[in-house]
Subunit: 406 residues, 4 copies
């Protein structure tokens, strides 16, 4: 029987050409797999037809937007995942979902190999290959762009030679990846890190500097899940979509940063993630109200490690599973409403209320009704400071003979 290769297919030039090229090079049949994670653009049916027209024996397309929102974006929201304290892992979250679809397609269609179009200097190759290794360790992986130095120019020549149904002229000056959780832009003039981005770079967000009316929103969470916006029930996908639209219209969620790639270099990235940033801002403040202090402090370390792991391609890994258990436990009481004003690029929390609040008005107030027993403080302060006080006595003393009783 002929070998089969499952290809992560986007519908664009590179992967369209890859269908035929892989078939020729390896003699295998190519199964194209395209997944909708909210990247917009063409409809899935057009993509499916193009894959077949380019020589795929099978073309699988899937609307995975709800799956992506529920199983990838939501855990990131609950973890508070910001790589380098800023980047909401836009691309890093979508890769494991695509990997899962590739692995399933490979099993279903009897493929022995998976192919992807990533280069050899980015993070995505790691996310694809480590992910495949973790879900289907027996599959082989090929990466034409990286392993065969396949270039855009070669791809265009190949496409024109074979008269493939691809518009080879459509080309952004940037390298772009986008899905419902956000949008990443790199390369071009942005590679000079002293250059400021221009408006042209952005698609998910309006210019925050333009005057417009503010937008006030109330987001309701239940156990860390956004379940309603302004009182209307939403799914996770709807929550992201609505906040993408409303926060995006206010210019919320633009990021411009130099970031540490797993492969050892620094790169400059522009992100837009209006929905993600707005939801995370609200969620974080609700945690401030409902998480106990020690839990909140340790959770920051968990959030950092979770973010690094996922950025570094280790979504499917034993540590990620264990951290997820921690995060899930932490969300038990993250229930309540957050009111937020979206305006001028800012998502500002202005109110929070919760049946699970640990903010106790009677303990906090300096007004009538104060229930805090201030007489307890003296002893607390004394013992809290005792270790550093004992150390201070030692440090101030200079050298003295050792303390032996006899």
């Amino acid at each position: 029987m002929t070998e089969r290769v499952v290809l992560a297919y986007s519908g664009g030039l590179d992967t369209s050409v890859a269908i035929g090229w892989i078939a020729e090079e390896t003699g295998a049949e190519v199964v194209a797999v395209a997944v909708d994670v909210g990247q917009g653009g063409e409809d899935l049916e057009s993509i499916r037809k193009r894959a077949l027209a380019c020589g795929a024996v099978e073309a699988v397309v899937a609307d995975a937007r709800d799956e992506y929102a529920d199983e990838y974006c939501l855990p990131a929201l609950q973890a508070g995942a910001l790589y380098m304290d800023r980047y909401p892992l836009v691309s890093a979250l979508s890769r494991p979902l695509i990997v899962r679809h590739l692995a399933e397609a490979a099993k279903y269609h009897g493929a022995t190999t998976v192919a992807h179009g990533c280069t050899g200097k980015g993070n995505d190759q790691v996310r694809f290959e480590v992910g495949i290794g973790a879900l289907a360790p027996d599959l082989q992986v090929i990466a034409p762009v990286r392993d065969y130095a396949w270039t855009r120019e070669k791809a265009i020549a190949w496409a024109e030679e074979r008269d493939l149904p691809i518009d080879v002229n459509k080309r952004s000056p940037y390298s772009i990846d986008q899905n419902v959780w956000g949008r990443a832009v790199e390369t071009g003039f942005l590679e000079d890190i002293w250059n400021a981005p221009i408006e042209d770079v952005y698609e998910y967000t309006a210019d925050p500097a333009q005057p417009r009316e503010a937008d006030e929103v109330v987001i309701t969470f239940e156990r860390g899940v956004p379940i309603a916006i302004d009182g209307t029930k939403v799914t996770m996908l709807q929550a992201i979509q609505e906040m993408n639209q409303r926060a995006g219209a206010q210019g919320v969620g633009r990021l411009d940063m130099v970031e540490d790639r797993l492969v050892g270099i620094k790169s400059r990235e522009i992100y837009e993630a209006p929905g993600a940033i707005a939801l995370m801002t609200a969620h974080e403040e609700l945690e401030n109200v409902t998480l106990e202090r020690d839990l909140a402090r340790f959770k920051r370390q968990v959030a950092q490690r979770w973010s690094e792991l996922v950025y570094d391609g280790l979504w499917f890994s034993p540590l990620k599973n264990a951290l997820d258990s921690f995060v899930l436990s932490s969300q038990e009481h993250v229930t309540g409403d957050v009111r937020m004003v979206l305006h001028g690029g800012r998502a500002t929390v202005t109110g929070r209320r919760s049946s699970q609040s640990l903010y106790d008005f009677n303990l906090a107030t300096y007004d009538e009704g104060d229930a805090f027993d201030q007489s307890l403080a003296k002893g607390f302060v004394q013992l809290w400071g005792l270790p550093s006080k004992i150390a201070a006595k030692r440090d101030l003393q200079g050298d003295t003979p050792p303390q032996s009783r006899d």
Copy 2:
């Protein structure tokens, strides 16, 4: 000889009354100590005179603004210190400086006791008393407001009885603490955490929602110290002041959060820290360019612990010292320029350049001149993912007999 008490003196009602009250209650002479950390308001000479008029035997006033900027704000900037990832420790930084002045005055004036005006439910009592314990462990501490349930009403009555030169009618509806690093506002209607703050609450920042021209600034750092703004040399104090003015005029640096106090309760705080937030934003991005990845990752944990320690009153502590050594080491190459746009409440980095940059255009570019050897990636990816791949094989296998070779 008569005992002496050194009192942390602000010039306001509570501590003015405390001078006489402490003298009466304890029979001691009171030495008032007032420190200018950039809180603005009255000049030091007026404060000094009022202290004497209220009965102090000595009144010491000190302009400690440069000391505060250089020895307290700068380490916080370099540490990247944001308590709960948000609060730049405005009040927490000034307390240890005041403590140092109190301890020195106590030594100089032969006092055995230090007094402060903090309540028993806030963090500042801890910072004062733990700080005193660490600098002068033999000093006693008294806290009239906390230990003798001294209230504002009692203070007014006392002041009027004795005809003290204090305006007892001047009163903010809020409890406010401010210095050059920022401003903290609490209590009043803000104690209902569903209430939004009103413009009236703010002093350091203009309303970010008002239309105005953007302001572009270039900040130059050398080894983590801001040394120039738009090419003009500045001291740390000048850097903060100028950025307070310019970022404040653009509405940058407002914070509204529920926060975990050391004494075990949650409180709601409004902060304004335009200069601190602008400088920290620039510094963080310069670190993104100049810090090696592993160092940057671990430094986040150090930043969190540093912030917690300082928030929790442990500025003078062995762990703080050791963390400072780490931070200092990390700053060796944090040298370069950051260009930033201040506008509409946002401080947005738009460019960075550095002789110490670890961003390597030739490794990062996807254009001509690419020096990254992509052939290295395959081996890297394989071994990077090997532990999770081995785990996956195990997890997918189900139970099998143990692996013994014989």
Copy 3:
């Protein structure tokens, strides 16, 4: 109705006297609660009778040894909990169990107050009171020894006056706490930290220096639970008891350390925990074989925080719950056998085998059958070292002009 106080009752002098003293001082009825956590000594029925003879209106005794082993010792084993990397939390684990029994008794018997016999400078007062606060926040707590400066001398006088059925002459020169997880000894001549302990101090362990035959044992774990010893099924309690006996006979598990108490002082402690140390040693090595590397690395941080929390009295706390979720997830594959030699104070692992092993002979061997593809290493090493190499180039270069392309 008469108020009721539930007293944590040990059967010894202090708490026997406390029954009558609390009744007299407060006018309340005293309910004595004694819990068997494997401390040995008197049978529960004798203790119950003494409580009644001393004036308790009710005396509740419970054999909680299995509960203690399953719900307190096992989580500690799985967490790898060693405070300061050494102390297996002997006393710290038993307190929350006792607290749970006290809270239940208080509810059942309608008490409003709980009493304990701890001093004001130890950790146990914290564990009792913080535990009660977390399980039954409405209960009051009284601590006669601490709050009323009750001393041994007063207790003896009181007992003799009232002719209580207590042997007031039986007294150890040490302060001792023991249960099935181990034994803690402090005070007396041990308070001079230059003094070595003498054999007299130990009860759970034989002198490791005495010659004797070694004892080889195979412990079988399933998902982190010891389920068999030398092939015979055991409960957790039986596992601890058998290993206490066998490892204790070989002098395993003695500890002598200066430790940081929560109340801010250092104290000197002698511990014996033969069963705990032997089981933890075996469990740790089985984790070495079955836990993936990143999980194992992060779990060390979790183990440290878990240990600190439990030592510090925060067994019943939101962070502890979330850490437990992490630990439970980590134990999924901790299944297999560990062979260990007990001898001369050492518990030495000599073999391990597991159906869940991640040790892969074919990848590890340097012999025939080597399946590791060494050609992957070069790329891995290059990219692994790339960040420090780029940093080295920067550091070696001296200052050069900033990298801007134009």
Copy 4:
């Protein structure tokens, strides 16, 4: 000019053969560099002569034992570096020193390339190559065993063909690496992890099970440096050597573990490190006496990260430097004496005394002279437990309407 290659030379079969092989394959001149880090065996002069006899154009030998002890072992001692809480990094510490000598020799002798004899599945290739990259980023690296699949059989044939002065019959059944800090043994029958090691495996330690007299030793530290043993001044090298001898004679310091290699596999290792383990045990207990609690707690995390970095080949890295600054700061007061009994495989601390002690007899004692004010404890306990108590009230309440004052 002829190219030159600097070869890390051990004097053994593989690297002796490599001299000629590299010369033939590359046409370069080979400079052999051998470094004495206390591995024992042949004298340096014999090694030097053999290198020349095998065809090296230059042979550099260096006694680096003091350098190794002072600059590599001492930082590890002070950091408390135990990889996976057990392994004192025996091989991992020596590699960066050798790298430094190689880089210096390359510079001095004008070489463009460095060669080492490591395989492609171990950690040492990483330590060599990442180290070279960090010290001399322009040098090339070749690894014949890994990159040209050079085997022992090929090496023997090559040596016999050319009649090289090497004894090809001398061969351990194990793969061994040793230096003054310890000894590592792997492969052979040990690759079956169920097999127990046999006495034959050990060289640095006597059988702990044999009866013998105990040995008592007092080690004096100053700022974390062992400066005297039993009152006699020692250098760091002498301290390790004497403790290797004395602790080794008592069977102290044997380890048998499955460990996580950086290249992604688990391996089984036997270590002997009598001096290292004895010194670390003493040092750790002196830290228990002299380090303030918070510092000690955070230092554990630093120790773990330091160990992982060094194990993973990142000795020369920015994070390692910054962690060293932390550690150095922590050692300021680690001064005093530790008395230890070495016997039967155990190194047991029995006493400690220090002019810098934070153990305060008067605060710790339960006897006369107790200076601890127990009345402070109540307030401390109440506020310490307040967050979990507030959380408990919330958790016990069930759902109630949100807390808004109006």
